[in-house]
């Protein structure tokens, strides 16, 4: 399996590019600086609106509502960028670096407390995920907690300190993991703490830092491809990744402040 870069989107961010997401209509969203950018499938900017605080993560619910993770809160916008609601909870939403959805539940990755929070759709807290273990949460030296939800409602969370992607149910039960440390084998996760970010579709997509690269695994943990490595700035880390319904992979270059788009090469 091979991928080729088909597009690079840049020039929209000045200081930070943190979170990427796609919706079921093929729109692509990017959270960076203190705003959200919405692009169409061809990469044209459709809409851009401001968030109250620096935007750290973005997720799009089935109804089209756009959830933006920030420090201490989640802002919820309609598809047109109009603010609908704000969930403030300094204790449970200390630093929201990932957003996801399972049925009617909203999931938020709180990097400050190293746990995934599950809320019902109006914001009532339900349970923690990944907190009940000997180290009291995910090991995230990079300061970002990243996860994605598959079509069966299983949460795939990056646990970079363990060099793993872990699988959890919505109620927080650990079901297993893929990944292992290896400093030279591309099938392994290198360095102190990788992978940093994860996306899930028909496969598991991850990004790593030092050196930065994007890779794809099957659900059993077999490496299928290194999507790209040498196109990113070598100082990149915490590169958000998203995959759309056509299998296009979006990766954020956090230094050059650009989104790289990759498509599978069909032989």
């Amino acid at each position: 399996m091979q991928y080729r870069q088909t597009q690079v989107m840049g020039g929209y961010w000045k200081a930070a590019l943190c979170g990427l997401a796609v919706d079921r209509h093929g729109h692509f969203y990017a959270a960076g600086d203190s705003h959200i950018c919405m692009f169409d499938a061809a990469g044209r900017l459709v809409r851009r609106w401001a968030s109250a605080r620096p935007a750290l993560a973005v997720g799009v619910a089935v109804d089209g509502a756009v959830y933006v993770g920030e420090a201490g809160q989640i802002e919820i916008f309609d598809a047109g960028g109009k603010l609908i609601d704000t969930w403030r909870d300094q204790a449970r939403l200390g630093r929201v670096t990932a957003i996801g959805f399972i049925g009617d539940s909203v999931l938020a990755g709180d990097a400050a407390d190293r746990a995934i929070r599950r809320f019902e759709r109006h914001g009532a807290f339900l349970n923690n995920i990944g907190k009940n273990n000997p180290v009291n949460g995910f090991l995230i030296p990079n300061g970002v907690l990243a996860f994605a939800v598959d079509a069966q409602g299983i949460i795939h969370a990056a646990n970079p300190g363990k060099h793993r992607v872990e699988r959890y149910t919505a109620d927080g039960e650990l079901r297993g993991h893929i990944g292992r440390f290896h400093g030279t084998d591309p099938a392994g996760f290198g360095g102190c703490c990788n992978p940093t970010n994860v996306a899930v579709a028909d496969r598991i997509y991850v990004t790593e830092k030092a050196g930065p690269r994007a890779k794809v695994y099957d659900f059993s943990g077999q490496l299928e491809a290194v999507i790209a490595a040498d196109v990113f700035d070598p100082n990149c880390k915490n590169m958000s990744v998203a995959v759309d319904g056509r299998g296009r992979v979006y990766v954020a270059d956090t230094v050059k402040l650009a989104v790289h788009v990759f498509e599978q090469v069909t032989v």
């Binding site: 273990n133 180290v135 440390f181 290896h182 400093g183 703490c193």
Partner: protein
């Protein structure tokens, strides 16, 4: 004529003033140095081992080889507040060495074995990945070679390890041999209060 004289006077006064200022500054510096108020320190933002963006290069060991003090007055120091306490620390392990049966790199990085680690909290023997560690640098063994500093640097690590001049070892040369050799001018004179941080 009188205009020429006044110009000459002015020029002379300026030169005198400049000379006096330089001498005064030098004297003040010497007094402060004599009182231990100005010291040599490594500027981590200049040092090639810790400076961000310097990737893919060998660690510079001029602090080890140039210092007039045996084993160098420059040592690696770990800022525990910044340390990620990683299970597989790139400054502790040689992360490109072969992986052993437990899943760890088989070699340590430090050529003098100056870094040790201690598990934090309850140890999980079943799953070593569940453990995390406090890392300590034995300054009696460290010679300031900078290898761990280079590996701890962002983005590979968190930049918690840096090189620092240790004042119980530094003999405070007027012309520091490391400063003369350092290609990045990373050895700088700073007030004692700043240097001790």
């Amino acid at each position: 004529m009188s205009q020429d004289l006044s110009r000459r006077d002015l020029l002379r006064d300026v030169v005198r003033g400049t000379v006096l200022a330089v001498m005064g500054g030098g004297a003040l510096f010497l007094v402060r140095k004599a009182n231990g108020q100005v010291v040599w320190q490594v500027d981590a933002t200049r040092c090639v081992n810790s400076r961000l963006g310097e990737l893919g290069v060998e660690a510079c060991n001029l602090c080890t080889t140039q210092c007039v003090v045996a084993l160098s007055a420059v040592r690696a120091v770990n800022d525990h507040a910044k340390c990620g306490r990683c299970n597989i620390c790139p400054a502790y392990f040689n992360i490109t060495s072969a992986v052993d049966e437990k899943g760890y790199p088989s070699e340590k990085l430090c050529p003098r074995d100056a870094i040790t680690r201690k598990p934090i909290g309850k140890v999980d023997p079943e799953d070593p990945a569940n453990n995390f560690y406090e890392y300590f640098i034995d300054e009696k063994k460290c010679d300031g070679c900078g290898k761990c500093v280079m590996q701890c640097k962002e983005p590979l690590g968190l930049g918690s390890i840096v090189l620092r001049v240790r004042y119980d070892k530094c003999v405070d040369c007027n012309r520091c041999a490391i400063a003369r050799a350092c290609p990045k001018d990373a050895l700088v004179r700073v007030p004692m209060a700043l240097g001790s941080r």
